[in-house]
C-alpha cells in the first residue's frame, strides 16, 4: 500500500520498535535481576537505613548486652585499623556507610554497632571520647573513627558542653579589683 520510501521508513519503524521492545524486555529483565540481587545481598547487619532513637542508645549503654560486648573499656579500645605498614595513615577513612549500607570490612567503632548513636544527650558514650586527663577530645587517629563520625562526635560534644549535659573545667579568670573599686567609690 505505501510508497517504497514509506515502506523503508515503515521497515525502519518496525525494526526500531522491535529493537525497543527487545531492549525494553531486556532492560526489564535486567532491572528485575538487579532488584532481586540487591534484595538478596543486603546483609541486615550491614544495613544502616533504620534510624535508632537516642533513648534506645542510652538504654543500650546500660544494658547487659553492652556490658558483655565492651566490658569496662571504651568502645574504641579493642578496635584496630587495617592498613599497610607499621604506622597507620594520619587520616582515617572518609565514611564507613555509603547509601545506607556499610561498604567496608572492619567498620569504625561507632558504625559497626548500630545502637551507638552520637547525640548530645548520650553523655555516657560521648565521655568515652574525651580524655580524662586533659579534657580534650581524642583524635580519630587513636580512636579509629571514620571522618564522618568524628565530625558528628565533635558536634555532639560541643552541643553537650553548650547545653550543660557535659561539664568541663572552665579556664580561670582573674579580676582586676581596681576597676570595680573605682566605679563603686
Amino acid at each position: 500500500m505505501s510508497h517504497p520510501a514509506n515502506f523503508r521508513s515503515l521497515l525502519h519503524r518496525i525494526a526500531l520498535s522491535d529493537i525497543k521492545a527487545v531492549s525494553r524486555y531486556y532492560c526489564n529483565k535486567n532491572d528485575e535481576n538487579i532488584d532481586e540481587e540487591q534484595k538478596r545481598t543486603v546483609d541486615p547487619s550491614k544495613d544502616r537505613t533504620k534510624i535508632i532513637p537516642v533513648e534506645t542508645s542510652i538504654r543500650y549503654l546500660e544494658s547487659k548486652a553492652y556490658g558483655e560486648t565492651y566490658g569496662n573499656n571504651p568502645v574504641w579500645k579493642l578496635y584496630r585499623r587495617n592498613h599497610k605498614g607499621g604506622i597507620p595513615p594520619r587520616k582515617t577513612r572518609k565514611s564507613c556507610v555509603r547509601g545506607g549500607i556499610i561498604t567496608t570490612g572492619n567498620p569504625c567503632p561507632i558504625c559497626r554497632d548500630e545502637y551507638l548513636v552520637l547525640d548530645h544527650r548520650n553523655t555516657k558514650l560521648l565521655q568515652q571520647f574525651i580524655s580524662e586527663y586533659t579534657g580534650q577530645i581524642l583524635e580519630p587517629f587513636n580512636t579509629g573513627l571514620c571522618q564522618k563520625k568524628q565530625k558528628e562526635l565533635l558536634i555532639a560534644i560541643e552541643r553537650a558542653w553548650d547545653q550543660g549535659y557535659l561539664t568541663y573545667d572552665i579556664p580561670f579568670r582573674h579580676y582586676d579589683y581596681s576597676l570595680y573599686i573605682k566605679s563603686s567609690n
Binding site: 586527663y133 553548650d162 547545653q163 549535659y165 561539664t167 568541663y168 573545667d169 570595680y180 573599686i181 563603686s184
Partner: protein
C-alpha cells in the same frame, strides 16, 4: 535531665485521671540594683578577711588537678629535698597561689544604661538602611574604655549599649572560654534548672564568671538563683574551698537569709565560723545588739588556723575562745535569729559533743603529764 515533672494519679468518682504537673523551682532572682551599693562593703578589708576565712580553704580541693590548661600532655610531679627555710618559702608560695585561685568574683551593683549621644545629623537620613558600628581596636586600651559607637539610619551618632559593646569586644579581643552567643544552659530555663538539680554549682558559677561581667544583670540573676538553690538544699560544702563561697555568704547576709548557713555551721560544730558570720552581718547591716563583744572576739579568731577536722588536742586558750563563741551564739539566737528553735537544738547538741571533746583533751594532757 528532665526530672522536674511529677506524675500524679487522681481518683475522682472511680475515674483515674493522670495529671502531669511540672514542678519547676520557684526561685525568684534578686539583683543588686537597688539604692544600696554592695561594692564599698564587699571590698572593705575586714569583710574580705571574714569571707576568705569563712570559705575554709582545703588545699586538697583548691589544688586539685584541673583539665583547663589545654596542653595535650601531663606534667610529671617534681620531688625535691629542701631545708627548713626553703620549705617555708615553698609553703608561702603555695599560700599565694591558693589566694590567687580563691580570688572572689566582685560583688557590685548592676551597671547603668549607656545613653551618650555624640551628634544628631538628620542630613544623613536615607544614606543607608542599616546601622554602622565603629569600634576602636587600638591595642592596650582596656575593654571597658574602648570607644564603640553606632550611626543609626536616622543619623544619630551614639555610644553603643552594653550588649553590643560586649559582643564586639569578644569578636575583636576574645576572652578564652567566653562565647559570642549566650550558652543555652543560661538562656534555657529547663536546662539551667536541670543543672541545678544535678548540683553542678561550681560549673555554673565558673562559667557565669567567664561568660558575663560581674555588673551585668544576667550574671546577677544566674548567681542569685544558684546561691538560693544552694541555700535551700543546704549544699554549702560543695562551694567551700572555692572562690564562690565568699560572694554567696555575702549575698545571703545582704538579704538577711544567712540563718540556714548558721544552722549548718552549728550542726557541724564550727562555732568560730558562726561568730565570723555574725561579724559579717554586723559589718553589712550593723544590727547586732552585742556588737562590742563581737568586735573584740572576731580579731581573736581570725589568726587561728583553719580547722578542717575536729581536733582532739584542745588547749586551754582554745577552750576559752570556744566558750566565748558559744556565749555569743546564745545571744544571737535569742535576739537576732530567724530559726531560733532549730539553732537552739543544734547548739545544745554541739555543747554536749564539745564537752566530751574537752574532757578527752584534758584527760589526754593529764595522761601525758602536761597539766
Amino acid at each position: 535531665m528532665h526530672k522536674n515533672t511529677r506524675n500524679v494519679i487522681i481518683h475522682y468518682n472511680n475515674l483515674q485521671i493522670l495529671a502531669i504537673s511540672s514542678r519547676k523551682l520557684s526561685i525568684v532572682p534578686s539583683l543588686y540594683d537597688g539604692e544600696q551599693d554592695p561594692g564599698p562593703k564587699f571590698f572593705c578589708s575586714g569583710v574580705q578577711a571574714l569571707l576568705k576565712r569563712l570559705t575554709r580553704p582545703d588545699f586538697a580541693k583548691v589544688f586539685r588537678k584541673r583539665t583547663n590548661s589545654n596542653l595535650p600532655f601531663l606534667k610529671t610531679p617534681k620531688y625535691k629535698f629542701l631545708t627548713n627555710e626553703e620549705l617555708d618559702a615553698e609553703i608561702s608560695k603555695a599560700n599565694k597561689t591558693a589566694a590567687w585561685l580563691l580570688q572572689m568574683p566582685p560583688v557590685v551593683k548592676v551597671h547603668d544604661p549607656i545613653n551618650e549621644v555624640f551628634s544628631k545629623d538628620p542630613a544623613l537620613v536615607g544614606y543607608d538602611s542599616s546601622k554602622y558600628v565603629f569600634t576602636d581596636i587600638t591595642f592596650g586600651v582596656p575593654n571597658e574604655q574602648r570607644l564603640i559607637v553606632e550611626r543609626d539610619p536616622d543619623g544619630t551618632l551614639q555610644s553603643c549599649d552594653h550588649d553590643t559593646r560586649k559582643r564586639l569586644n569578644q569578636i575583636y579581643f576574645p576572652i578564652q572560654g567566653r562565647k559570642v552567643k549566650e550558652p543555652t544552659m543560661f538562656s534555657d530555663e529547663e536546662k539551667f534548672h536541670g543543672l541545678l538539680e544535678e548540683e553542678k554549682y561550681e560549673f555554673i558559677l565558673d562559667r557565669a564568671c567567664i561568660q558575663y561581667e560581674p555588673n551585668e544583670p544576667t550574671y546577677q540573676k544566674v548567681t542569685s538563683i544558684t546561691y538560693q538553690h544552694v541555700d535551700l538544699k543546704t549544699n554549702f560544702n560543695m562551694l567551700r574551698s572555692t572562690r564562690h563561697f565568699g560572694p554567696m555568704a555575702f549575698y545571703l547576709t545582704w538579704h538577711q537569709s544567712m540563718d540556714n548557713l548558721m544552722l549548718e555551721l552549728l550542726q557541724t560544730g564550727f562555732v568560730r565560723e558562726t561568730v565570723l558570720l555574725m561579724g559579717l552581718r554586723q559589718a553589712i547591716h550593723e544590727d547586732i545588739a552585742f556588737a562590742d563583744e563581737l568586735n573584740e572576739l572576731v580579731p581573736q579568731i581570725l589568726p587561728t588556723p583553719v580547722q578542717l577536722k575536729k581536733s582532739e588536742n584542745l588547749s586551754e586558750e582554745d577552750i576559752n575562745l570556744d566558750n566565748k563563741c558559744i556565749d555569743c551564739v546564745v545571744k544571737y539566737i535569742t535576739k537576732n535569729s530567724a530559726m531560733k528553735s532549730q539553732q537552739e537544738l543544734a547548739l545544745q547538741g554541739f555543747r554536749e559533743e564539745y564537752q566530751q571533746l574537752v574532757e578527752l583533751s584534758r584527760g589526754l594532757r593529764k595522761a601525758h603529764g602536761n597539766v
